[in-house]
Structure formats: structure tokens, C-alpha cells
Symmetry: C2
Subunit: 182 residues, 2 copies
């Protein structure tokens, strides 16, 4: 099950709900809460990630706030490795390093604790629920490298491939998407 | 391991970092990121929760945004049950029910999707990282009951017992805290 069959992908996609005009007019939001509360779907997805990443000999899984926490912590716990949160500005209590990224209007900023990883040159997987334009993921990838860790791969449950986010990340890390919307 | 030994509790507590004056002057913040990135600690904690709750025959684990997502999703995935996020106002894309709760100054509001649980009278565990005064947890407990589910227990990794949050919850549900700060 290192890659899912087309049928399995179709099944997972069928559990994701489209919500029109959220968070604002014109955006078709991909609601993954209907995948999470479907135990067969959530289990299939996590079994797949577990099987894929157990061969990577990871030291850490880093998840992006806040839906990345869900998949990242579940995977870290299954693999028996540490979990590291990448958070929006002002949420982490200790000394952080931060990275800005562009929004449609203006900029936003994410942070990681300066001592987020114990030791150095640890093997890190970055995970988030969705990659769209890739701005947040790129900032998170840079943060992990800033604190001197080896970013082994960036993993997304859903890739909106028409927004080309993956292209932004490829100079920095491998990318794996479980599901794609073309 | 249905209850941890005093030594195991001391070990887990030793991995939680105190950060003074966060988020504001005078508050001693309990930073659980140093437990999460300590793989022996995170694994011990999740093994304990897994063992405790596998006998409860849960249908769902509900986690409170956003640190409750970490423990809740990890536990749900280990148990093979669904995960349901309880979120701050405006974050959930579909129709929600909401509950207000008091802050030191003013009020805040959390929400759950109206169809968060598939079916009715499902057995739900509520989880968050920490219980202080219990306002958020009480609101979350009410939400789960509002959508007509059986709230089996509320679980916290850390209970600041001197703030008596547990008392607020006990009329509504059982409460279990892994660690206590008295």
C-alpha cells in the first residue's frame, strides 16, 4: 500500500466535502472534517502514511497549524517519533525563528521553536492537509532548514495541482501528495 | 499501564517546559512542545492513552483547537476511530452549532459542525492538552451534547488543579487527567 490504488483514492476523495464560498466568495473549500470523522477513510489514510514513512527512518514529523497537527501528530505517534508544531506568529511560547510569506493581500508569518528538534541533522518530514499556492509550506520548509535539520520530504493529503504549489517546494525538498485535484 | 506510576508521571512532567510571562506578564505557561519532541515521553503518553481508552469502545475522539488536535488525532488514529475538531469561531466551513464561554475580559466562542458525528448517540471522548479554569472544556462538552452524542469522558494531559476547572465539568461528564499540578 505504498501508493494507493485509484479506487482507494476515489474513496478518500469522496469523503472530502466541497463547501462553496468559504472562507470567502468564489473559493470552493475542501472540507477534510468529513474524511476525519469517517473511520474507514481516516484509518485507510493513516495506514497508508504509516506504511510509506516507516521506511524513511524519520526522527520527527513537523505539522503546520492547525490541520497539519491532525495528520502530523497521528503519524508521529504511529511511527514512535517526536512531533513538532509549526505555528502562526505569537502562538509558540519560547524563543522562535520565523519566516514571512505572501498572502493575496499583505504578508503572514509562521514560527518554529529555536530548539524544536533535539540534536542536529535530524530527519524531518513536513506535513499539512493541503497544498494550494504553496506559500505557507515553503515558509515552513525554510524554517526547518534554518534550524539546521534535514527536510526529507513534504507531504500533503490534498494537492490542488492547478495552483502549482509543488513547484515552489521542489528546489527545497521532495514532495508527496496522497490525493490530487487537477 | 492504565494509570501511570509516580515515576512515569514525574518523567512526563520533567519534559514540560515552564515559560514565564506567556502569553502575558504573570502567567507561567506550560509548554508541551518539549514533551511532543521527546519521543520516549510522547510515546509513553500515547501508549498510556491508547491502553486506557481501548476498553471504552469509543466511536469518536473530539479535540479542542489547536493543541487538543495533536493528542486527539493521535489517539483516534491509534484506536481506529474518527476524529472531530472543536474549533474557534469562523474556522469550520460548514453549518455549525456554537457555544460561548467567558474569558478574563469578554467572551469567546467555539463551534462544532452540526453533522460532526455520523449517526447519533455515539460514544465520544473529549480531549485537550490542559485544563485551567475549564471554560473552554465546558463549552466543548456542551457542544458535544447539543449535537446529541454521549460524552463518555473528558481527558486532559495536564490539570492545573488549583484553578478547579474539573469542578465545572463534573456535572456533565467524567474527567480524567494524566498529570496534575497542584
Amino acid at each position: 500500500m505504498k501508493t494507493l490504488s485509484d479506487e482507494q483514492k476515489q474513496f478518500l476523495l469522496s469523503t472530502i466535502r466541497d463547501v462553496p464560498d468559504f472562507p470567502k466568495k468564489g473559493i470552493l473549500f475542501k472540507d477534510i472534517t468529513t474524511l476525519l470523522n469517517h473511520k474507514e477513510a481516516f484509518t485507510l489514510l493513516m495506514d497508508h502514511l504509516h506504511e510509506r514513512y516507516q521506511e524513511y527512518e524519520l526522527d520527527y514529523v513537523a505539522g503546520i497549524e492547525s490541520r497539519g497537527f491532525i495528520f502530523g501528530a497521528a503519524l508521529a505517534s504511529r511511527l514512535g517519533v517526536g512531533f513538532v508544531p509549526v505555528r502562526k506568529r505569537g502562538k509558540l511560547p519560547y524563543t522562535t525563528v520565523s519566516e514571512k510569506y505572501a498572502l493575496e493581500y499583505g504578508v503572514d508569518e509562521i514560527e518554529i521553536h529555536i530548539d524544536a528538534f533535539r540534536g542536529t541533522n535530524k530527519k524531518v518530514l513536513l506535513i499539512d492537509d493541503l497544498i494550494a499556492t504553496g506559500g505557507t509550506a515553503l515558509a515552513a520548509a525554510k524554517l526547518i532548514k534554518k534550524v539546521n535539520e534535514e527536510l526529507v520530504e513534504a507531504c500533503f493529503i490534498l494537492d490542488l495541482t492547478f495552483l502549482n504549489g509543488k513547484e515552489k517546494l521542489l528546489p527545497h525538498t521532495q514532495v508527496y501528495s496522497v490525493l490530487e485535484i487537477v
